[in-house]
């Protein structure tokens, strides 16, 4: 039996992840139209620094970021990290949205493109070209259930000049990340970035991170543990030197605050 326009309803799966980051890496989510996200991220020093350094809390790096939704699919963002004084700029486009109903799409796909430049002075000073790196990602995620989402993120990072001469300048990697909701407003996230073999020096480790997310209205708090100090793709995917096994674990957090620029109606007093 056909029921008018009624069986034509499409249910787009929203909120595959709470935040625009799974932990370090980007999630399929984009900022809503006319919304501005301000993101403050910190990574403290390694836990294995011991009591004298208060388990790493005496030192920290930060990244301040701004992200803005041009429309509900397309967003732009920028950030500045204190580590290596990196400026990063990126865009994300939600290509495909997971949906059920009359249009059945099993996954969400978001494209990510980013550019980052180190501005920390070095000896010898490198040209801007040699301090630049580029990242392209295809973020593919599925919200399996209300509580469980999984994402794989094939990644390509190109550095105009690698820190170690023998490293590939173009590095292929793939991230995998997921979240498990505990309550309506909290979740546990995990993320692993696997760099395909024989591309970078063996001293570099793959990035692994776990976080606890708490969402309160316009804020998302992510309390996390990770083995990388940096927060841009080049840093945490291709230049992570910490190892979980030897306790090179950084405590950190991301706090995102969303501001809305919807046109406000006058409120009657």
């Amino acid at each position: 039996m056909k029921l008018v326009s009624d069986s034509n309803e499409v249910f787009v799966r929203t909120a595959t992840f709470k935040a625009r980051r799974i932990i370090n890496g980007h999630s399929v989510e984009t900022v809503g139209k006319n919304n501005l996200d301000f993101i403050i991220s910190h990574r403290f020093d390694r836990l294995n620094r011991g009591f004298e350094e208060f388990f790493g809390l005496d030192a920290a790096t930060n990244r301040l970021g701004l992200e803005y939704g041009i429309n509900d699919r397309f967003m732009i963002g920028m950030g500045r990290s204190s580590f290596q004084k990196v400026f990063d700029y990126f865009t994300k486009y939600k290509l495909i949205r997971q949906s059920t109903g009359s249009i059945n799409i099993p996954v969400s796909v978001t494209l990510f493109g980013g550019y980052a430049i180190r501005t920390q002075k070095t000896v010898p000073q490198l040209s801007a070209f040699n301090r630049s790196s580029y990242t392209a990602q295809i973020l593919i995620a599925r919200k399996f259930s209300e509580a469980f989402s999984l994402q794989i993120s094939p990644t390509l990072i190109h550095r105009n000049r690698a820190d170690i001469f023998t490293d590939n300048r173009t590095v292929f990697a793939s991230g995998i990340g997921g979240r498990m909701k505990l309550t309506k407003r909290t979740s546990i996230n995990g993320e692993y970035n696997y760099v395909l073999p024989n591309q970078i020096n063996d001293n570099y480790k793959n990035n692994l991170a776990f976080s606890f997310d708490l969402e309160t209205g316009g804020h998302v708090f992510q309390l996390l543990f990770t083995n990388s100090y940096g927060m841009t793709e080049r840093q945490f995917i291709t230049e992570t030197d910490g190892s979980w096994g030897s306790g090179d674990i950084h405590f950190g957090f991301n706090i995102s605050r969303t501001f809305s620029f919807e046109k406000k109606k006058k409120v009657n007093p």
Partner: protein
């Protein structure tokens, strides 16, 4: 959804002979709600509601896909679906009822009507009675109504943190246009 289909098929089969031309389905709908507090006004619109009205026995069903409510603020929309209405678990808000007055609704005119039945929001059923207005024209019907929904009646929890921003009583208004139902 199943229940709705069953109800509709019930209406279709048992009243088919007499009611076929008395069955009207919505072709255009506009449902919106407002939450007003001193701190924040929230409003959202939904044009995806569906309804069927049977003029012979005055049965009325309305079904609204919850996730189709459009907010100006997309973050609010996400919270509305994720945290408050849980629209993946409860995709539809429905009303299944009957118009109480024994009116000859096939004659053109404006009628004020009352309908009683079950309002289901957030998976919680409430026995409700609504009043509204039906305007009948040639092969056309318009139903307009406005009513309040108490969040507590439908087990929609508002955390203390945002308690002052979201009204406990939400004002809903709906306008539904019907045309004769074609198979």
């Amino acid at each position: 959804m199943k229940q709705y289909l069953i109800l509709v098929s019930f209406i279709l089969t048992f009243n088919f002979a007499s009611a076929q031309n008395k069955l009207y389905s919505s072709n255009k709908s506009d449902v919106s709600f407002f939450s007003k507090t001193p701190l924040q006004d929230i409003d959202a619109k939904n044009t995806r509601a569906n309804s069927i009205i049977n003029l012979s026995n005055r049965d009325l069903v309305v079904r609204i896909p919850v996730s189709s409510f459009q907010f100006k603020n997309k973050l609010m929309q996400e919270h509305f679906n994720e945290n408050y209405l849980e629209s993946e678990k409860f995709p539809y808000a429905t009303f299944k009822g009957k118009i109480i007055e024994d009116l000859e609704l096939s004659k053109p005119g404006v009628y004020s009507v009352n309908a009683s039945g079950i309002l289901t929001i957030h998976g919680v059923d409430q026995e409700r009675k609504f009043s509204g207005k039906i305007t009948v024209a040639e092969n056309k019907l318009v139903l307009e109504t406005a009513f309040d929904v108490m969040l507590i009646d439908h087990k929609i929890d508002i955390p203390k943190l945002v308690f002052k921003k979201i009204a406990e009583k939400i004002a809903v208004s709906a306008s539904l246009n019907y045309i004769p139902y074609k198979k």
